[in-house]
Point group: C2
Chain length 318, copies 2
Amino acid sequence: MSRQTPRAVAVIGTGTIALGWIALFAAAGRDVRVSSTRTDAREHLDAALPAYAASLPGGAREPREILARVRVVPEVGDAVDGVEAVQENAPEDLELKQKLFARVAEAAPPEALLLSSTSTLLPAALGAFLDTPERVVVGHPFNPPHIVPLVEVVPAPDAPAALVARVTAFYTELGKSPVVLRRALPGFVANRLQTALLREAIHLVREGVVTVGELDTVVTSSIGQRWAAVGPFEAFHLGGGPGGLRHWFAHLGAGLERGWESLGSPPADEETVGTILAQAEAGFGRRPYAELAARRDRRQNAVIAALAESAADEGRRA
Amino acid sequence: MSRQTPRAVAVIGTGTIALGWIALFAAAGRDVRVSSTRTDAREHLDAALPAYAASLPGGAREPREILARVRVVPEVGDAVDGVEAVQENAPEDLELKQKLFARVAEAAPPEALLLSSTSTLLPAALGAFLDTPERVVVGHPFNPPHIVPLVEVVPAPDAPAALVARVTAFYTELGKSPVVLRRALPGFVANRLQTALLREAIHLVREGVVTVGELDTVVTSSIGQRWAAVGPFEAFHLGGGPGGLRHWFAHLGAGLERGWESLGSPPADEETVGTILAQAEAGFGRRPYAELAARRDRRQNAVIAALAESAADEGRRA
């Protein structure tokens, strides 16, 4: 590929997730074609993208530089013409996405990667209207996608290994950390883990053990920073002392299942949600959304930079 | 208090948690009296504390400087004579701890803080043999206690507010982030949240969705660093877009309870534990424990330093 022809990527949608992808692709030097049903898509991108340019993990970029690489191409068939990849971010409506991917598969180059940001639908279903349904691969990002490294790559069961390898190479080149799931379960991995923790968090607030704000402080000052450093299994391995995870399981024994049984199963009824919302809105909810989001992005970029520096140090030690 | 009389703290125990407290107290300039039933306690401390001195979050300290402030005083009554606080780390045996605290209360100054590192026992029970049982307050740290900021402070239901305030002031002065629980539930808050996430993590490995190592990567590259930056409620608030948590709950609706119902409830049987252990031992388990622990500590200290710098920046912005 010559330097005169930047590689092109199509992004379908202009919501929060789509904007993160657009900023990420443009920052990596790609030509980005944005397909959207919004008639004011250009104005929307011009207004929204500067905040994304300012919070890129590698450091703030000039909004102009990002915007210059982004073109609105409303019709999806035109948008995907000649691209290396399509990242779809349409609403979570199976039939809508199935029709979209059918149109995309017709118009995109045969080697183009067909990727969906879906967090709930399975890849085999998304590709149902294609001759080769396994061409559609889920590339599920984490919000905000231009910052959080993880991309859950979920191929259809019969997707060729070479396709999966091309998808992970595509995301890796963009600086992401793709993890390929070996099987698809609804919600994939990270969202299921979040859901499990959130249920207990809601239980603890509902039971009056802590407030919403206190619960957030507990997490940021303990398990959050622990799990930024090492994953839960390695953390428990190290918590077990020199005997490691084996000692930890042996020591805990039946206590593990007892602990699981003692977890809460709160209803998600109006009263429970009302309690959470009242406390949230009296706390962080009083601060403007854009200010909170910018603070989160700065903090998370600081964590990412610190971990990258620490990893580089480890490399020098090794 | 004159500069010639350093403040003294007693630590009961010499296990992993006790060692973290000892390093933390000594680094803060306290005289530390260690009460232990080990006849080789001195040799044990001399061997173990240098690694703690090297991994203090404020930067490595000279082992000699830490060790010079640590004295072994086997008999607990002698150890607590004249101290400002006692941090107990005996095995999780209620009767043993009850007897210990009865002896401590007899010998310690009446204003000394009586603190327990227990992760499973409730403060009212620990103080049952005292005339004023509510004197015993749980100060539950996170491993390793000299690094992780959180201390869960769990007072007995009838503990005076002034006592609770003195406990939080004590931990805050040491650089910790105490959070006072409004009610005691077994497991307190952070361990219950960990337990909830671990159950789903074990389910996902058991179902073959990811391996132990892949699950750890998913967490460190997404929710770990997210929750180091903002707690789960604030993260979902920001995930909801400008409509915040209210929009997020409304949008999810019945999906929240459906998500909870779809979570796994794996058995903690031999086969399940065996699968986890086999994968763990083929992965991080091949590396020496001390090397892994040092790596975790360096990474977590890097995260803590980055967040502190980010908070200082926020202060300058405000």
